[in-house]
Symmetry: C2
Subunit: 355 residues, 2 copies
């Protein structure tokens, strides 16, 4: 299958079996652009053309576009160009996320989506396609634990999980039980903020997100690993709104967004990515609020300060920031040098422990 040559084979070797049957596909680039507004983590959505997904006015979608073979030497350059040209948004961090290529992820022929996580400072975005910042937790309301355990988990998710388990064949019951407990922290397992993609995919299998209906018809926008839909939709639940938890996006875009949230949360612990959404100077409280916004959890304030201090990630500017009420906080600046000083200069939030 060294299909790297012009005349190779269909298989893994140089077996001289005639001309190569290459595989070509549409390739789209999908940036998941994330920022934060005050204490709300946001991501950028656009309106898909109205005829897509059979919804009026055009359903919400992630921005996406095509590589320009002439202009873009690398994939990342392509994403950068798209975001710069079409949205005019200065993005401060890019990272390739995952390549989604399920056959049925788009309705008209196989298209590969190379997704990127992008971080930007919050600013208004204008342009065609109605770009709009949207709270990440509109898409994933079960992910925000800052106000305590979200009600919909006990009201909707847990009952659905229990039905799922109750109708499980005995063979897979232990597996499913442990998966459910681990993913949603229901048993003795603790809620792990990072497993955002796992949770979305399990909710998909449970039929609790709107995309599951369309996806079921299209076979599976479902599990990432191609494990097949093992749950089966449990439609007609106590779901919110129009038939599913949270705001859906077209196709598998919400899955892509979930992957981005998972990656971002995981990165918080060992890479100083938060600073890419913050202004030049900021208070430690602001820093903490932003981390909490992304993590979806409150953190112990004093320990957080100690962490930031010992990590040597920031330096004081000497100035102070006055807010309403309370002692003014000192303003800090990100020490960008640490990127080259230490291997893993993150906020070592091992378990993202909250109070």
């Amino acid at each position: 299958m060294p299909a790297t040559g012009r005349t190779g084979s269909t298989g893994s070797t140089g077996r001289p079996a005639g001309p190569v049957t290459r595989f070509s596909a549409t390739v789209e680039l999908v940036p998941v652009i994330i920022s934060v507004d005050q204490t709300t983590p946001k991501l950028l959505t656009v309106r898909s053309p109205a005829h897509i997904a059979g919804q009026g006015r055009g359903a919400a979608a992630l921005p996406s576009g095509y590589l320009d073979d002439a202009l873009d030497r690398t994939l990342e350059q392509g994403v950068r160009r798209l975001v710069a040209n079409e949205l005019g948004l200065p993005v401060r961090y890019f990272e390739q996320l995952y390549t989604f290529g399920n056959r049925d992820r788009a309705p008209d022929g196989r298209a590969l989506a190379v997704a990127y996580l992008a971080l930007a400072r919050y600013q208004p975005v204008h342009g065609p396609g109605e770009p709009e910042w949207r709270s990440c937790y509109d898409l994933f309301p079960w992910e925000d634990w800052r106000g305590g355990r979200p009600r919909l988990i006990d009201d909707v998710v847990v009952p659905a999980l229990e039905r799922w388990l109750a109708t499980s064949p005995a063979g897979v019951l232990p597996t499913r039980t442990e998966r459910a407990e681990l993913t949603f922290g229901t048993g003795q397992a603790r809620w792990d903020p990072v497993r955002a993609l796992d949770r979305y995919e399990l909710l998909y299998e449970l039929g609790l997100v709107a995309e599951a209906a369309a996806g079921g018809k299209r076979e599976a926008g479902g599990p990432r690993q191609g494990a097949g839909v093992t749950g089966g939709a449990l439609a007609g639940d106590g779901l919110e709104g129009l038939g599913g938890l949270g705001v859906p996006l077209v196709f598998d875009h919400r899955r892509i967004a979930a992957a981005a949230l998972e990656r971002l949360r995981g990165k918080l612990a060992y890479r100083p990515v938060v600073f890419e959404v913050l202004p030049e100077t900021f208070t430690l409280s602001t820093l903490q609020q932003v981390v909490e916004a992304f993590a979806g959890q409150h953190l112990h304030k004093q320990n957080f300060r100690r962490l930031v201090a010992t990590a040597n990630l920031v330096e004081p500017t000497g100035e102070a920031h006055v807010r309403t009420g309370g002692r003014p906080a000192e303003l800090y600046r990100f020490r960008r040098e640490v990127l080259r000083e230490r291997p893993a200069p993150g906020l070592g939030l091992r378990r993202l422990g909250g109070p």
Copy 2:
């Protein structure tokens, strides 16, 4: 750029600009199949057709192949099918690695490579294309520190780094110095086994790997981030063999392999992936040797046992394994249940600390 519809635009929005100028490209699937033979980590290579890369008999390459749109619902299914059909190798773990899409990564037209990390138990492989297990450290001799700091680092790499720094413009000198120290652990920074890809890419920029010559002509198989070649080749060095450190692979395949090694090393700490290359039962010494093989470092034996024990990753079988000389070791078995018990059931080798 919601190019998800049939009639979209060229940009980030629904601007009605006529029919979509979609982008299509050849997409190949590239599994990096890794295993271990005794204490040697190995990866599977094949022979590319002889005319590729202008080398006799066909240079070594990673296996690769094409998706079959009819057969493969998901990308991972495609990789599984390729490996099963062409190599007949039972692979026990798959994970998408990265998508490589630099314009010049292949000589004849843009081809995207969706790379997968694959883990298998070691067994002979037959088939067309001359599949062959090859030591990972043939490709990356600087990565194996089990016999102490590899000589070629001080003999070849460090001098090249010093020349690189000596010829640096003052503006980028601090950046480069810190990058060099962090990547190769030369300054006060410690060697971080995980940064295998960073090291390969820096060596590429330094012109110390054979691919840099061809890649330089082709603009850049170079840095992953598309940062451009900032170093410039320093040809005519004290390089080994045929003009570069380690055994080269065709195109950017060695970069892909480096990415796989990096991912694998990173995963060791928080996912029990080692067991996928081990037989059903094994001794703790064997387990440690395999981890050491992948990590390229020796580990403190007693602490390793404690780690494995407290992590509850294995259970004794009751049987013992007799080897030549010394007390017989007990045989253990992987407790696959832990995958569902704890969020991150790895061998918490935070810094992969050796003795």
